[in-house]
């Protein structure tokens, strides 16, 4: 009786397992990275680094999509020379997560220079931080085998659901979730005008009431901790596209960068922007994410403004 029952159960499960196996096989190249955090792009970035990244590192970039998309790897290397550099930027990363990730990654990689690229969004309630266990992140990157990480993070639905979506994320630079990393982890968007999402293109920056005062404290904490480690922090402010700028916004941005400077420069760090240059709409994918040429020009302009070069 028990044999018969088990046989029935196995027969019942076989088509399901076969279907799942076929699906997984079909999308094997875009199987999601182990779910060590709730941020898919961070997971993908960590796997990228685990597979390809050098150790130790000289320069790391950490932050949200401003860091991922708007920091151009070529421009960074042209400025710093032949350094070991990895961009750990991920979309959807709040500032508290950025602080935690910078501290965890710097301690592990030994990087002496840290780049963080933001705009007003990171200092507003529109980009909250997610629960993030940096211990799990470092364990995955530097300790666990890939298989072990999958066993630890066994959420079948998550993997199955993202396999197909990852095809577009990996290959299509016109997709706002593009995760086709260059050799250093950067991902340059290239959204042609006809494919721009109107909601993203016309989106307005967070208003004064959306700003969260305590997040400036988070930036200062980070600056203080890195200064104690004798690590240089270079904070880049990314501009909004020309079409949405007005005097009020310009003034708010100026106040924002001045506040950051007041917090970080006395600690020996640098806060740079490229607001003295025009940022025409053609160089953008949406209201704040730059296309490839724009990202290069922005990164080069910011880094050329640095008071002292090099790590």
């Amino acid at each position: 009786m028990v044999n018969r029952f088990l046989k029935e159960v196995i027969l019942l499960c076989l088509p399901i397992l076969a279907g799942v196996a076929l699906y997984v096989f079909h999308y094997r190249d875009t199987f999601p990275a182990p779910r060590v955090s709730d941020n898919l792009s961070l997971n993908e970035k960590l796997r990228f680094y685990k597979a390809t990244g050098p150790m130790p590192l000289d320069v790391i970039a950490v932050g949200s999509s401003m860091t991922l998309n708007n920091l151009n790897s070529r421009a960074v290397l042209e400025h710093f020379g032949p350094v070991r550099y990895v961009n750990f930027g991920t979309w959807g990363q709040g500032l508290a997560n950025t602080r935690d990730m910078v501290l965890a990654l710097q301690a592990r990689t030994g990087a002496r220079t840290v780049l963080v690229c933001t705009n007003l969004m990171e200092f507003s309630s529109e980009l909250p931080s997610l629960p993030l266990d940096t211990g799990q992140v470092t364990r995955y990157v530097w300790k666990d085998a890939e298989v072990v990480a999958y066993v630890r993070t066994h959420q079948v639905a998550y993997y199955l659901r993202n396999m197909e979506a990852n095809v577009i994320r990996r290959r299509d630079a016109a997709n706002y979730e593009f995760l086709g990393f260059d050799a250093h982890g950067g991902a340059t968007l290239d959204v042609p005008p006809e494919q721009r999402a109107p909601a993203r293109w016309d989106k307005q920056p967070p208003g004064p009431h959306d700003m969260v005062d305590s997040l400036y404290g988070v930036a200062e904490d980070l600056g203080r901790e890195l200064a104690a480690r004798q690590v240089r922090l270079i904070w880049l402010h990314s501009p909004f596209r020309h079409g949405i700028m007005n005097d009020a916004l310009r003034s708010r941005v100026r106040q924002h960068t001045e506040r950051l400077r007041a917090a970080l420069v006395p600690l020996g760090h640098a806060v740079v922007d490229a607001d003295d240059q025009p940022w025409p709409d053609e160089e953008y994918s949406d209201y704040s994410h730059l296309n490839g040429p724009g990202a290069y020009r922005f990164t080069a302009a910011c880094l050329s403004d640095l008071p002292t070069p090099g790590p």
Binding site: R4, E8, V9, L12, I16, V156, A157, L160, R161
Partner: protein
């Protein structure tokens, strides 16, 4: 360990194979295996709290044995008191100490005194309310001479630590379960097949409905002042389905699992949202707890033997205690009170038949009158759920204020339309299948209603929905916190 986890998907086949193949007899060895399985299952969360489980079980086992050997009334009462103090003392300390300390302090502060009452950083052992009540039922039954105490500690410990219902019930009666642990078990394939169906049905309710429902009530009840009346209304209705699918889903899985091992657990839910009045709802909702309170509290208090005053008093006590059982907070007590207030008029003034006649007998759909009764009952139950789900009593009042304002007539912002569509699809499937099977044990009992290919299509469809639409977060069962 959660039923809806990979850990459990590995654990279950191992225990099943060991149980039926490696240790098919004698029954004592199977019971030892069940105790070991219970320890792994419970210890997966925190092994240190296994000591509490075995302490409770140990006290009750020894007390029951002494009760069997004792004839003197005073000594028997003393023995029962030991069991009550040990069980309820532990429960009181772990679950209610902070609540009573806080309330005591606040009460005296209002009177102008400032007592120095410290709260403790206590972790609530998962399932403590369930296994305490279950173990207590054993000593009370032995005390009442309704059950002979078992001489075999293995039998008793296997009963208390039986993993399918250890964490969230059903709260079994010793006189129903202990004999099942004493006799050899026979594998019955029909039972096992239906058990598997019931597990699948419970998983569907949990994963597709309850987990997808969770985000909206979490948002709205987490910050009630920020949401409109219509959003509160939607969140309340969504929560009604969330809690039903979460808890009845767990119970379905527990019943199905027990059947795989040759046990028959008591039914815990009987399609409560098809109830035609609040009294019927309480006969169909969390049956094991409600009958526990009836047998061990309501009847000893005098039940309904002393006239209407006694009925009112005892009903109020039962519901208030039930509220407190669910959580150490005033909003749970308020929930109990509201439940009592909606229940009492029926008991005092209604001349309805008890038990109620079958719903829509021989018909596909309910009559308009039945539908009206069902919807009214659902509305009353939802009103009570507001107190249950709110994070505090003042927040519950904010919800009612919002629902009584003009903002009730604004369009709600559903935030995540996809999750709502999945939830709506899941709820629709659930209501249809449970309605079709309303005279049966669970929503997937389709034998005789569908031919085999259709049945298989239904099972695969449900599994497919679970693979595609289970949310990436969620998982914990609401009733674990009780």
């Amino acid at each position: 360990m959660l039923f809806n986890s990979i850990d459990f998907a590995i654990f279950l086949p191992i225990v099943f194979v060991l149980y039926w193949y490696v240790l098919p007899h004698p029954v004592r060895l199977q019971n030892v295996l069940l105790i070991a399985a219970g320890c792994v299952f419970y210890g997966w969360w925190d092994w240190r709290f296994l000591s509490l489980l075995f302490f409770t079980a140990g006290v009750d086992f020894l007390v029951a044995r002494e009760l069997m050997a004792t004839a003197g009334v005073r000594r028997r009462k003393g023995l029962l008191a030991i069991s009550l103090v040990a069980n309820l003392g532990l429960l009181g300390f772990f679950k209610y100490y902070n609540f009573f300390a806080d309330s005591f302090s606040q009460g005296f502060t209002l009177l102008g005194f400032h007592p120095d009452v410290r709260t403790l950083n206590i972790v609530l052992p998962v399932g403590i309310s369930f296994y305490t009540f279950q173990s207590l039922s054993y000593t009370i039954d032995v005390y009442r001479r309704q059950l002979e105490a078992t001489r075999d500690p293995v039998t008793f410990f296997a009963f208390v630590s039986f993993f399918p219902q250890l964490l969230a019930g059903p709260i079994e009666r010793a006189r129903h379960m202990v004999p099942q642990f004493e006799r050899p078990r026979v594998f019955r394939i029909d039972q096992a097949r239906d058990g598997l169906r019931q597990i699948l049905w419970g998983l569907f309710k949990k994963v597709i409905i309850a987990d997808n429902c969770a985000f909206y009530p979490n948002l709205v009840f987490g910050d009630p002042a920020a949401y409109s009346g219509s959003e509160h209304l939607v969140a309340t209705v969504v929560f009604a389905f969330q809690i039903y699918c979460d808890f009845s889903g767990y119970s379905d899985m527990a019943l199905g699992l027990a059947r795989l091992f040759g046990f028959d657990l008591m039914r815990n839910f009987a399609f409560p949202y098809f109830s035609r009045d609040v009294a019927e709802f309480w006969q169909r909702w969390h049956i094991s707890l409600n009958t526990w309170f009836r047998d061990y509290l309501y009847i000893p208090l005098g039940g309904s033997r002393g006239g209407k005053g006694m009925v009112v008093r005892n009903t109020l006590i039962i519901f208030l205690v039930s509220g407190l059982w669910h959580g150490a907070d005033w909003h749970f007590i308020a929930w109990g009170l509201v439940c009592a207030l909606t229940f009492l008029p029926l008991v005092l003034f209604s001349r309805r038949q008890t038990p109620r006649p079958p719903l829509a007998p021989g018909r596909w759909l309910p009559s308009f009158s039945e539908l009206g009764q069902i919807l009214l009952t659902f509305a009353l139950v939802c009103m009570a759920w507001v107190f249950f789900r709110a994070t505090s009593l003042p927040n519950a009042m904010i919800t009612f204020q919002r629902m009584a304002s003009e903002s009730l007539f604004t369009l709600p912002d559903l935030v995540d339309l996809k999750a709502f569509k999945i939830t709506a699809l899941g709820v629709a499937i659930m209501l249809v299948l449970e309605w079709i099977n309303r005279e049966r044990q669970h929503g997937l009992q389709m034998d005789g209603r569908m031919n085999k290919p259709l049945r298989m299509g239904l099972y695969y469809g449900i599994i497919g929905l679970m693979i595609l639409f289970s949310p990436s977060i969620g998982g914990d069962f609401i009733y674990f916190q009780f």
